[in-house]
Symmetry: C4
């Protein structure tokens, strides 16, 4: 496979003023958790598979020990009579230029599917284990800000300070060239692990925007499991800090690690 390959599972898909949701793997897998749940709960139909030499050379092993090449997939469904397009996947591009090439391809498919609004979903790494019930936004068109604030999206000047890296950001930048309004919605997350709790916060905001109700019990379950992991981590960290206070030279070295 020398070139990216688009496999269409359904022809003649005609949508009107559709909304594209993008949830690829990233910080805390927050965006991926949200769209994977939406695909299930809204019973979305897969219409396109994308394979690319820009993805890692890897197969995923499914429940029944069968494998398939890592890919990205487009789904469609309805929410309150609105056409929803969902972009989900196992991986993002493993190369920088692959990100640009795939981003352009997603824009072409969005055009075909008459996408008029895009929400890319992701996580914002706080470096803190405590959960923050907040969803931060960034847009490619300032006129979207007021509307999103009504759905509890927070905006902070120049934030994220380091910009947005990867598909969630790139799709915002590229859709500007095509005059499609796009927002990136980011759940707050530690950045250290998969974060279903942050995904819940993000799902709340998204449900409000789309005017739908989604059963998040699966996220709640996973969130409970993760809470135990976090509790253990926090306890371990506390113990470590206590020990460091008793062992000056070793603690110093690790402190330097945290600064760097």
């Amino acid at each position: 496979m020398k070139e990216t390959k688009v496999v269409r599972l359904k022809n003649d898909v005609r949508l009107d003023k559709s909304i594209l949701l993008v949830g690829l793997p990233g910080v805390g897998h927050v965006g991926k958790l949200v769209v994977d749940l939406l695909i299930e709960e809204l019973d979305a139909e897969k219409i396109i598979e994308i394979y690319s030499p820009h993805f890692p050379p890897q197969v995923v092993v499914d429940e029944d020990s069968t494998v398939r090449l890592v890919n990205n997939e487009f789904f469609i469904c309805k929410a309150n009579d609105t056409d929803i397009v969902i972009l989900a996947g196992d991986q993002q591009s493993a190369t920088g230029n692959g990100h640009y090439e795939l981003g352009e391809l997603y824009m072409q498919i969005a055009d075909e599917l008459n996408v008029s609004r895009i929400y890319t979903l992701g996580g914002f790494p706080t470096g803190q284990l405590d959960h923050i019930e907040e969803v931060m936004g960034a847009v490619n068109d300032a006129s979207m800000i007021e509307e999103l604030k009504e759905h509890n999206v927070i905006f902070r000047d120049h934030e994220p300070g380091g910009g947005i890296v990867g598909a969630a950001g790139l799709i915002l930048g590229l859709s500007k060239f095509r005059d499609i309004g796009a927002a990136c919605l980011m759940g707050m997350t530690s950045g250290y692990m998969v974060d279903p709790k942050s995904a819940q916060s993000l799902m709340d905001v998204l449900s409000s925007i789309l005017g739908i109700e989604v059963d998040v019990s699966k996220l709640e379950e996973r969130a409970k499991d993760m809470e135990k992991v976090v509790a253990n981590l926090m306890e371990a960290k506390q113990q470590q800090q206590q020990q460091q206070q008793m062992m000056p030279d070793s603690s110093r070295e690790e402190d330097l690690g945290y600064i760097g």
Copy 2:
């Protein structure tokens, strides 16, 4: 050399319903050990050499101080009247997209050689120095599982959890597009060193599948040498652990290393 180069050493190779075995370097070199032995013991004939700018820019130095470019090679032989094709080599692609490009080339050659079944051979890293007499499988077609279980291949849902990276996995994924049934057979191995013992376990399973008997004395010899290395390593590790128990702060730091 700007493009991958296929050197055919023999024309008019006509095979019928052949089986392709793939054993490129990887975890524990388990797959490579198996196919290198098979090439020798079944007196396989080399028919194709593949050179590629995707391989590392490197020559191998042979026994007599002569060098040759690193490559991948196709061999053919017979086992119980069945045509066997073997893909062996010094290296896998050094780039992600090279993996996809070479994978596609291997599929084309498999088509030419009427391959109807593929076994990719590799190692599954356990992180444990103790030998586990087990061969794990993953398939691109669920209907192969029962048959392989009869030859003592173990299947575990969602395992390997991280998917299968590199040629062994990619070839499974790509052959699905061509409706060729393919399985990846993985010997258990520590992941720290070349593992002829794991190769023996894998050879047992493969011999059962192919209905052949192969003299594995060469693997046994190498396995004995490696056992000494492993014994030394385990002793060193034990001593280290004892010392760590006596030196609390230094041990802590290294323990953290193992978790990370």
Copy 3:
């Protein structure tokens, strides 16, 4: 976006014997600070935007929470009746060959804009936190040296010893093929942080070369802020050294770090 994309905001730009100033992000962001100030103070007009798959796959978030793809931009303005062209940007190429491709593009645009002299602006990493009031030069044409010395540019044989890496150097090398005289002017900077003080030194030299006066109060302000950061860092370093003298074995290890 598979290829680099040049967006022209103004057609029919005709300049005569113009001077190109290049200030892309780099060591201490010295060059970027200088050209960003010049664009503001000389009220320069943006004429070209360049987007490229060689830039990182990233959007910048501006003050009002709106995003835009990272890019490079060309501006034009006048200084003492001389046409000035300015190349500024968020990022340099993230790939080696991208540097060469973009460098060539910049040369083509310089040709269009009748550039007859180029100054690339950057920082020279000293590894020292103390400010050194000095601007070092390197040229692609020895006949420029005497003239630049009159504007207090320092030249040292074979310096920088490691050559000049990235756009600031490459543009000098590539413009040689087109017989355009080009100099790289480097402010001395620690290499550890953004350095507005070094940018002031560089601005002094550049103002002298161009025969202009530029209000550097914005750089002065930022320099004062950075001075506090530096003072804190130096104090911390001093404390650390004192502690190390009291803790022989830990200090040793870190000392080795500094040598390596």
Copy 4:
């Protein structure tokens, strides 16, 4: 510059049964030191410059503060009526596939210049600071071994065990496809620093092969300077080892570093 660029400084170069010497930067810069000296002492004439996006995006700063793009260069000269071609340069390819592309280009130029024998010159890293007066060889044609042994080239089965990486090896591999006999001659060197002493050993062997005498006083001078550096390093290492014996837990950690 999107493509590699060949600048010919002299047309109509006609050579007969010429010998190509390759000395690009590498382990200990041994090969580069030898060919740079030969170019000077044999008064070789530069005939070709090669620029490439596969080289690092970098300029070299020469003695007079002028810069030039890093490149590779071909020179010609005579030694005992034999036409000698020399390939020298600032850098090797920074990418794996660039190595293959440039290697092929060098083969094409070798063809043009009627090269009938190739010696690539390099260093073999011993990991030891002590000088070993030995030159190891590898060939692409076993019939060259006996002849080279007469000139004190040592051959060891399967050595170097890790193959030969980079241009010195690749050129051997690629010239095999064109039936040009080629040998890689490697001076023993620590691998830690530029090694003019190893270059002297290699020059001795090469002088014997070519039947020439070369004034190596410049290498001798540099070798004396390096000897002081080595003496200091060895003393420092000894002191460090003594200190480690007195500080058990810190020494342990570093020892592990040496093993890994």
